[in-house]
Symmetry: C2
Subunit: 376 residues, 2 copies
């Protein structure tokens, strides 16, 4: 057994904690760039609560509200411009995974010049970033618990992660109350994203006993609580559980990585702007079908968490779980056609080979093509 | 549910990793004060391997080898003097819990002037410390995974923890191979210390689902592997498991704290220089007997991990586990007499009240006295 575990984020968890963001942020800077999306944090009133709290703590701020789903590298540069023009010395991301990832990348690019793709593809090593503070508003990505920011380059359509300890948030405030404004369709897809983080990290080649314990807890919490929430029967405790599970999912991929499903989903959502969790829903059962024989004990345990029996019915257990959260979908229903498969396959082998190698069984280009086709 | 989880230590785990300590330390300083004990790291050759690795990496060092069991605040001052005189800019602790705790306190006192007891008792707040790097040689204390250093003041005999994020190690190198030179009597007592860390954190008022997952993993690994190791039947994998469990135990008390058994053991070992794990062995079953009804689900789970049935036989399950690791002992056999109980009780209520309050049921002074007497 050999591993490295390094997740230096201060995780502050609890209902109502978002209202303390000013006090929590004060050790890290005097002026925050508040990175958020185009609508939901305004509509829900969260953005006002955050800026009120900053004002009360005597922290200045500027708002950058241009981040959209599957954030673009070009949007990151716009954010850097806003941070520099407003002389911000810390970045506060308030929103879902796209927003948190953009916030992290903006903080990084404020200290590292040039094309961010050079850092994403490892051609250059970065050093430093503005302090990053995050408030997730969706319980899915887990970006609040790791050093990963997934970005899409609009020139190449490459969707790939910036992966560096420099973008580990200093503090993440996980407030289950702020998740409650999510529409059900968003909840099911982000919740399944969280589930796959735990599943892929648990079955990854880089898994270790620390991440295994966290991943199992995350899967158990989601299996027990996500269906009730999606069906409108959730309690405060269920929101707590699902929020925590999402953060744990983020933490485990920070240490053990994602594998085949995430690697194969990125080309699809990079190409067609598909909702990430729905792309994962289309691919994960078919991938689990092929991976389970390579790691039977662990896939059997996953299956049992979902009410199944052993590794042989793991894929079906996942399909049943997807049905229970109203997320049964195919790539075809998401707009992917067989004509897209050659580009997606080629792109997957180019940008996601590291993820594929992290799976217990390494897929060939032919395997990838077949899985895409059977998932349409 | 509300909690804060902040354990920013880079954990590097694996057999043989101690030989890379030079390379691992190089980002943190140019000259290390190597803090170690009076004998075992020299006899085992580990100290030579460590200094060789430092030399190869171009790191200068001075050795401070005066730390003994239950380290004294006065020894810490000696270490600070050695660090200052040798112009060291980082502290490398190589040894068991006493040594790691002394190393952390030395690093702290190099940046914080005055009487360390003022910081221990919260009369002053410290800021900063030299970078701390640790190599544990016993799998018990878990000091490598937290921000705690337990020290004894020889003037007052108070044994109490310095508890501050400033002394979180930058890196801890957990190398199961270096544990193998431990005598069996040491192994059983440090292994049980690790078990109680997990048990007390799991049943603590500050427990949270992140620490629960880690604590359960730690208890499972110890229940499965410690008896075999103590009985000389251990494999490399068993050493891996027990080493990891000890680090997890340290991590969980860093976040969720210890409770009654540690709180009550410190006055005993502060007074009579008792081996910490043996003191815990004398007290823990009797304490579990009283606490189990207050938190039946969790004590039942602990009991089942140890082969028992439910919360009612948890204390007996712990007694059986102690027997399996040759650690059945009473406070009387450790030199405590009924005449010592009034001082220990008074001292416990003075220095350990925070620990007692962390238990699921708060003991009164009378409870503490009774448990001491029945444990003799």
């Amino acid at each position: 057994m050999e591993f490295c575990y390094n997740l230096p984020v201060n995780l502050i968890f609890g209902r109502g904690k978002a209202d303390s963001i000013g006090e929590i942020s004060s050790p890290y800077g005097k002026k925050a760039l508040v990175v958020t999306g185009t609508g939901s944090t305004k509509r829900s009133g969260l953005l006002d609560r955050v800026t009120d709290s900053l004002e009360k703590a005597g922290i200045e701020y500027a708002v950058f509200d241009k981040v959209t789903q599957n954030p673009l590298t070009t949007t990151v540069y716009e954010g850097v411009y806003a941070a520099v023009m407003n002389q911000c010395d810390m970045i506060l991301g308030v929103g879902g995974g796209s927003i948190m990832d953009a916030a992290k990348a903006i903080a990084f690019c404020c200290r590292n010049e040039g094309d961010i793709s050079d850092y994403i593809f490892g051609r250059k090593q970065g050093r430093g970033a503005l302090p990053i503070i995050l408030i997730p508003t969706t319980c899915g990505t887990g970006s609040e618990g790791n050093q990963i920011a997934v970005l899409t380059n609009p020139d190449t359509m490459d969707k790939k992660a910036l992966y560096t300890l420099e973008i580990m948030p200093k503090v993440s405030v996980v407030d289950p109350d702020v998740m409650k404004t999510m529409p059900v369709s968003v909840l099911s897809s982000v919740g399944f994203d969280a589930f796959t983080h735990a599943l892929e990290a648990y079955t990854s080649k880089k898994a270790n006993p620390v991440t295994d314990a966290q991943a199992l807890t995350a899967m158990e919490l989601l299996a027990e609580n996500l269906p009730a929430l999606v069906n409108g029967k959730g309690s405060d405790e269920a929101w707590d559980a699902v929020s925590l599970a999402a953060t744990l999912g983020g933490m485990v991929i920070g240490a053990a990585g994602v594998s085949a499903a995430h690697g194969m989903e990125h080309p699809a959502s990079g190409l067609k702007n598909i909702v990430h969790g729905r792309g994962l829903a289309a691919l994960t059962p078919n991938i689990a079908e092929r991976l389970a024989p390579a790691l039977p004990c662990k896939f059997a345990r996953v299956s049992r968490i979902l009410g199944g029996t052993d590794e042989k019915d793991c894929a079906d257990s996942i399909r049943r779980f997807l049905k229970s959260i109203d997320l049964s979908v195919t790539l075809g229903e998401l707009g992917i056609t067989p004509e897209d498969v050659p580009w997606m396959t080629e792109n997957c082998m180019k940008i996601s080979i590291g993820n594929l190698r992290n799976a217990p069984l390494e897929f060939s280009e032919e395997d990838v093509r077949e899985i895409y086709l059977e998932s349409i």
